[in-house]
Each structure stands twice: as structure tokens, then as C-alpha cells.
């Protein structure tokens, strides 16, 4: 490029740069803009499609920032911890809400609900929201987030494969029965596998189903003095069982298999049984995305010694950040996105099978929903009986069904499942992985001040 051209190009670029530089502008007259941090799960995508309804009726504009779950959590945490200011509303889960509430990072919604007029209160009908979900989103008795969709875990199975092998899945299977089925249906030579269980490391990935197995075997993550109990007793049996089952009858590539990979395996007909989130039910019965949509069977999550904690409790919820300058408007959005009106919108546009599940009793009781989602009763029962304050056989110092509700669990759960993934691929034994985990977890808890 000749010099004059270069000079012109540079001037041009500077012009662009400086015109793009932020000029402090007066807050736009009356249109408030809300910024929402959200994940890209199908139900959230639907929310973004429907936002026109909210913007038209309130005149408030909404900006969505969509990121993968872990990146979102990291970004929002970093933002809040350094003074906030980026987001008005954050999409959070039952793990973060009590912790962030304790840190005073999010707003107590009780005050806002009490300020609603009688008609608005009746329309919203907070009592309709499932109590166990509300419990998961509360701290010190106050509600800090409203659930957008909720889920528990359950068993999915391929009815065609079961029929061909002459097997019947009971409504409430035990883990022993599941293993029996998996063994009979496992046929690697035909690229067919008995069961798909998450093996992807991560407190919210492998950690979730594995924790439910720990619970139902009668084990727990910590004893009452916060010492980890991973390498002994029922906990060790549970973890060993989990890893061995995957190794014997599970999917190859297990250490990279999370929700999405197992869903793919299952819908492609390569796996006979899949134990995972109830929210998958809509996806795997959708003929557009699932070649086996017509053959999906449903059952409760398997149990062993106790039904307590055998199925998890999770909700993606919307919460208002303490640093938001538009808390009232944000609360309006919260109540819009979780209202019966919103559910009606989705039902009209996408069908009752795709409404945000697991939050309201009225949804489960709706005749159209029952027709579109015949498995709905299993989901309802599962959510209602999942109690984060009573999920283990023995008493524990923590709350949470498939996680431990302490800020350190993000690191602990990920580290432990990372060690176990190595056991899954055979580069180490479960015993060695658990021994290492014990040492690491103990150290983390010491550092965090739980004990000396």
C-alpha cells in the first residue's frame, strides 16, 4: 500500500475509533434498558423470542447477554465482586442464590412482592409456585429469586430396545435393577450401550447425578464437623458403583460426556437408559430433534438404600442484582417472565410441551400440558419430594441435594470429579482418586476457615 493510501486509511480508522468511543450520554429520556445475563438453554431462547410482549406492555427495553453457564457464572461473580454495574438481572441457580443472598449481592424479593397491589398479587399467585423450589431459592426465610424453570432428575429409557430384549422398566427402579438392564442391553459391537451417565468433570456435570447416587446409597459429602467422607463407607461404595457402572455398561467417551453428549447418544438410539435432568423430557420427545421421539419411556430416578436425595432439585431463576439502578423495572421483568401469562404465551407459540417446566402447580394441572407431557406427573412428584434440607440418610451440616451449598463447592466438586474422570479412563483407580480427593478437599476447607 502506498503511503498516501496508508495515511488515508489511518485517518479513516481513527475517525471510526473516535466516533465509536463512548461519549457520556444523558440517560435516554424515559426508556429504561435492562441488561440480563442469561444462558442459552432452549427455554431462555424462547424467553428472548417473547420479550416483545414485555417491552410493548411496559415500555422497558431489554438487553440479553447470553453466555455458557460456567463463563456466565464467572463473569457475573467477577462483576459483582468488583462493584457490579453490568447487569440488572442475573440468571442463577439454586446453588448461587443462598450464597449470593448471604453476601448481600442480590435483592430480597419479599419486599417487592409485598408492595404489589391485590390484583397483581392474585395474578402472579406466588402460592402456585412449588414450595420446594421456593425453598431452594430462599435464604433466611426470604425469597431472593423467582424460578424460570425447575427440574429434578429421572430415568429415560428406550422402549423399543427394552421390548426387543423382553425387559420391562418398573416405575420406581432400583439401581440394582438398572444395572441388570444395562448389562443385558449393552452391545458395543453394535455401537449400542446399556446406560449413559454423565462422566464430564464439573460440580454441576458429573457432580450432580453422582451426588444423588451418594445420597441414595446412604452416603454424604461431609460429616457434621465438615470433614469430607469420600473415601469410606457408603459414600465410597456409591462412587465406586457410579464409576464402575459407566465403565462396564456405559458410553465410550464418558469422561467427556455431559448432558448434551448423553442426550445425543440417547436420541440417536445408541444408549438404552439415561438418568438425567427432567428438563430433557421436552427435547427427547420432540420429533424434530429426536429420531426416537416416539420410543421414549419414563421412570423415577433409581434408588438404593433410601429414596432421600435420589433425585435432584434445580431451578434456573431470575434475580435482581443489588447494584442495579433499575430494581423496580427489573422486578417487573422477573414477574413477567415467570407469570402464568408468560406460560400461556409459550403454550400458544410453541405448544404445551415446550413451556418452562417445573415451577407452577397450575402448569402441571393444566389439561393441555398433561396431554403434551404425559410424563409430567413423574416430574411433579420428583420436584415435590426433593428437599435440599433433608437429602441424606444421616444428618449433614449442609443443604443441597446434588451439590453442597457452600461457595467452596464449585472448586471442590470440580476437583473431585476431575480426579474421578481419571479413574473413568483407567489412568488411575477409584481408590487412588478418592484418597487424593480427600487430601485436596480437606485442605480447601482448612483454607476457607471451616476448621484449623
Amino acid at each position: 500500500m502506498k503511503t498516501p493510501t496508508r495515511v488515508i486509511a489511518f485517518i479513516g480508522a481513527s475517525a471510526i475509533v473516535f466516533s465509536a468511543a463512548p461519549v457520556p450520554r444523558a440517560e435516554a429520556q424515559s426508556t429504561t434498558t435492562l441488561t440480563i445475563a442469561t444462558v442459552n438453554n432452549p427455554q431462555m431462547v424462547d424467553m428472548q423470542h417473547e420479550v416483545g410482549d414485555f417491552e410493548k406492555s411496559t415500555g422497558i427495553k431489554v438487553n440479553f447477554e447470553t453466555l455458557p453457564e460456567n463463563t456466565l457464572r464467572q463473569k457475573v461473580t467477577a462483576d459483582i465482586a468488583t462493584g457490579g454495574g453490568q447487569f440488572d438481572i442475573a440468571t442463577v441457580g439454586t446453588y448461587e442464590v443462598p450464597i449470593w443472598a448471604k453476601n448481600k449481592w442480590i435483592v430480597n424479593l419479599d419486599d417487592y412482592f409485598s408492595k404489589l397491589d391485590a390484583k397483581a398479587k392474585a395474578d402472579y399467585d406466588l402460592a402456585d409456585v412449588l414450595p420446594s423450589i421456593k425453598k431452594g431459592l430462599s435464604y433466611s426465610g426470604s425469597l431472593y429469586a423467582v424460578p424460570f424453570y425447575g427440574e429434578s432428575s429421572m430415568t429415560f429409557y428406550n422402549k423399543k430396545l427394552f421390548k426387543a430384549a423382553g425387559l420391562t422398566m418398573p416405575d420406581h427402579p432400583t439401581w440394582d435393577q438398572i444395572v441388570g438392564f444395562a448389562q443385558k442391553l449393552n452391545d458395543p459391537s453394535k455401537n449400542l450401550y446399556g446406560i449413559c451417565l454423565r462422566g464430564l468433570p464439573g460440580w454441576g456435570e458429573m457432580g450432580a447425578p453422582m451426588s444423588t447416587v451418594i445420597n441414595t446409597f446412604g452416603g454424604q459429602w461431609f460429616d457434621m464437623s465438615w470433614k469430607p467422607t469420600l473415601d469410606s463407607g457408603a459414600t465410597k461404595d456409591a462412587i465406586t458403583f457410579y464409576i464402575d457402572t459407566i465403565k462396564k455398561y456405559g458410553e465410550p467417551g464418558a469422561s467427556s460426556a455431559g448432558f448434551t453428549e448423553c442426550e445425543t447418544n440417547f436420541t440417536q438410539g445408541k444408549t438404552a437408559i439415561w438418568v438425567d435432568a427432567t428438563s430433557a423430557s421436552g427435547l427427547i420427545t420432540d420429533p424434530k430433534n429426536s429420531p426416537i421421539a416416539a420410543d421414549v419411556g419414563f421412570a423415577y430416578s433409581p434408588t438404593k438404600v433410601t429414596p432421600k436425595g435420589s433425585h435432584w432439585l434445580w431451578a434456573w431463576a431470575l434475580t435482581v442484582e443489588g447494584s442495579s439502578k433499575h430494581k423496580d423495572e427489573a422486578f417487573k421483568f422477573l414477574t413477567w417472565a415467570t407469570s402464568k401469562h408468560y406460560i400461556g404465551l409459550i403454550a400458544a407459540d410453541r405448544g404445551w410441551g415446550n413451556v418452562p417446566p417445573g415451577t407452577r402447580l397450575s402448569t402441571f394441572n393444566n389439561a393441555n400440558y398433561k396431554k403434551a407431557a404425559p410424563y409430567g406427573n413423574i416430574i411433579l412428584q420428583s420436584i415435590q419430594t426433593a428437599d435440599p434440607t433433608n437429602a441424606t440418610l444421616n444428618k449433614v451440616p449442609y443443604t443441597g441435594v446434588q451439590f453442597v451449598g457452600i461457595p467452596e463447592f464449585q472448586a471442590i466438586g470440580t476437583q473431585v470429579t476431575q480426579n474421578l474422570a481419571a479413574a473413568l479412563t483407567g489412568s488411575t483407580t477409584v481408590d487412588a482418586a478418592l484418597a487424593l480427593s480427600q487430601t485436596q478437599v480437606t485442605r480447601t476447607m482448612q483454607q476457607a476457615g471451616y476448621y484449623k
Partner: protein, 272 residues
């Protein structure tokens, strides 16, 4: 005869190699036109009825254009400014090195040794403090600092290859430094300029961790847009493939333009 055969053989080998290299990208491109179920079907599906849904969705619902505009402004801006600061420095260090040059170059390189993940909280704090958070200017300034060492190191090597007689002759003729730099030296190293510019553009275009943490709706770039398609619940590969194809097209065009400049500098003949 053998030479012709050898040439043909080499050309064939080149094509096979290049196509093998390009295959994953081709596969991604195809996936963008499939439905989610088809994209992950086994055996892999080669012939299918293409759908434009994913591309339509990516362009309209996900707001591609906004991210695209940010990406262009930030990448081009930071590359040009890095050139503005870096080329004079590279010229001096390459053609007129002193004892201190090695030290200077080492220090320049050392600014790239801190992993972004280790410095992100301080960066967030600083950016918020000087009001550069979530701004195009802030990202351009930051990316310039990241690209400068690349420009200095690369262009220094190319400048160092310039025959000294060329420079000497111009000085004898009475030309001043700026004239020599911009009118004689720079045109000589066009291959280097093209390669450096392309690399700077690519690094800025694809950078993810810093922009996701330091930018919001006013400055988020295409990598953030693509990340938005990844979810831990639900299939997304076809949609993500479409999104990343859209994001890669501009870079591909830039690459095509750059590799055309990878021809010998026009002034090579002038030395004789």
C-alpha cells in the same frame, strides 16, 4: 519428463494435504446447513437437504451485525494503531540495533508472558476505574497493547533483511528518516506487513477471555456471540456451526487478500 512428473506429483500431494487440512472447516460449514439431529448422525451424513434456518436464526435473533461491527472496529483499529507505534520501533531495532536492543526486545516480549486469566481481576478493576469498561475504545487500546509486541518482533525481522546499501544510498541522496522509513523500507517488506497484519487481525478477531470479561453490549465481539450458542442443556452444534461460519467469512476474505501480498516486494529488483 521426470521433472514434469515430479512437479505434478508435488502439486497433487499439495492439494491432498491442503484439502485434508481444510476438511474440519468444510465439515463445520456443512453442519451449519443441517438440523441438529442430522449434524450428529452416525454414519456421518454427506448428502442432505440443506436448511437455512440456522443462518437465518443466527443473523436475526442473535444479533450478528452488532457483534460484527464491534469486531471490525476493534480488530482493524487495534491493528492500525499497533502498526503506527510498532513499525517505527521495528525499523530502528531491525536496521540500527545497539547493545540495548536485545534487552528492549526481551522486555517487549515479556509483556506477553502473563496469562490473561491471571490478570483479569486487576484489569476489570482498572478498566472500571478509568471508565473504559465495556467500551470500544477500551478494547482497542487493550488489543493494541497485545498486538504491539507481535508487530515489533515480526517487522524487526523483515526490516533486518533489507539490504543496507538501499538505506545507505537513500541517506547519501539526502532523504530524511521518515521518508526512508515509509517510502523505501516499508514498501520493501510488504510480505512481512501482510503476514503481520493478518496475524494481528486474527488474534484480535478471535480473542475471547478478555473481551467476555471486559465488555458488555457496547463492545462485545463475535467470539462472545458464538459462545452464546453453547449451552449445557440441549443440542447446539448446527447452530454454532452456522454462527462460526458467519464469523469466519470476513477473516477468510482478509486472508485471501493477505496471501496475495505474499509476493516479493516490488523493489527487490532495485538493489541491483
Amino acid at each position: 519428463m521426470t521433472s514434469r512428473l515430479r512437479n505434478a506429483g508435488l502439486t497433487l500431494a499439495t492439494y491432498i494435504l491442503v484439502l485434508a487440512i481444510f476438511f474440519p472447516i468444510l465439515w463445520t460449514l456443512l453442519a451449519g446447513f443441517k438440523t441438529e439431529a442430522t449434524a450428529v448422525a452416525q454414519p456421518p451424513v454427506l448428502f442432505f437437504t440443506p436448511t437455512f434456518d440456522n443462518f437465518k436464526d443466527a443473523l436475526t435473533n442473535a444479533g450478528y451485525l452488532g457483534f460484527f461491527a464491534h469486531s471490525v472496529i476493534i480488530s482493524v483499529g487495534s491493528t492500525l494503531i499497533a502498526f503506527l507505534f510498532g513499525i517505527p520501533a521495528a525499523y530502528a531495532l531491525g536496521l540500527f540495533p545497539t547493545d540495548k536492543s536485545a534487552g528492549t526486545l526481551s522486555w517487549v516480549l515479556s509483556t506477553k508472558m502473563m496469562p490473561a486469566v491471571g490478570v483479569i481481576i486487576p484489569l476489570i478493576i482498572i478498566f472500571k476505574g478509568i471508565h473504559l469498561f465495556d467500551s470500544l475504545a477500551g478494547m482497542i487500546i487493550l488489543y493494541t497493547a497485545i498486538n504491539l509486541p507481535l508487530v515489533i518482533w515480526m517487522m524487526r525481522s523483515f526490516f533486518a533483511e533489507i539490504p543496507k546499501d538501499l538505506i545507505e544510498a537513500a541517506r547519501v541522496d539526502g532523504a530524511d528518516t521518515m521518508h526512508i522509513l515509509w517510502r523505501i523500507a516499508v514498501p520493501f517488506v510488504t510480505p512481512g506487513l501482510a503476514a503481520t497484519a493478518l496475524l494481528c487481525l486474527i488474534f484480535s478477531w478471535n480473542e475471547f477471555f478478555l473481551v467476555v470479561n471486559l465488555a458488555g453490549p457496547n463492545a462485545s465481539t463475535l467470539p462472545v456471540y458464538i459462545a452464546g450458542f453453547m449451552t449445557s442443556e440441549g443440542l447446539f452444534w448446527a447452530r454454532m456451526s452456522a454462527a462460526s461460519t458467519l464469523a469466519v467469512i470476513p477473516v477468510f476474505i482478509a486472508g485471501w487478500a493477505a496471501q496475495r501480498s505474499l509476493v516479493r516486494g516490488l523493489t527487490m529488483g532495485a538493489v541491483k
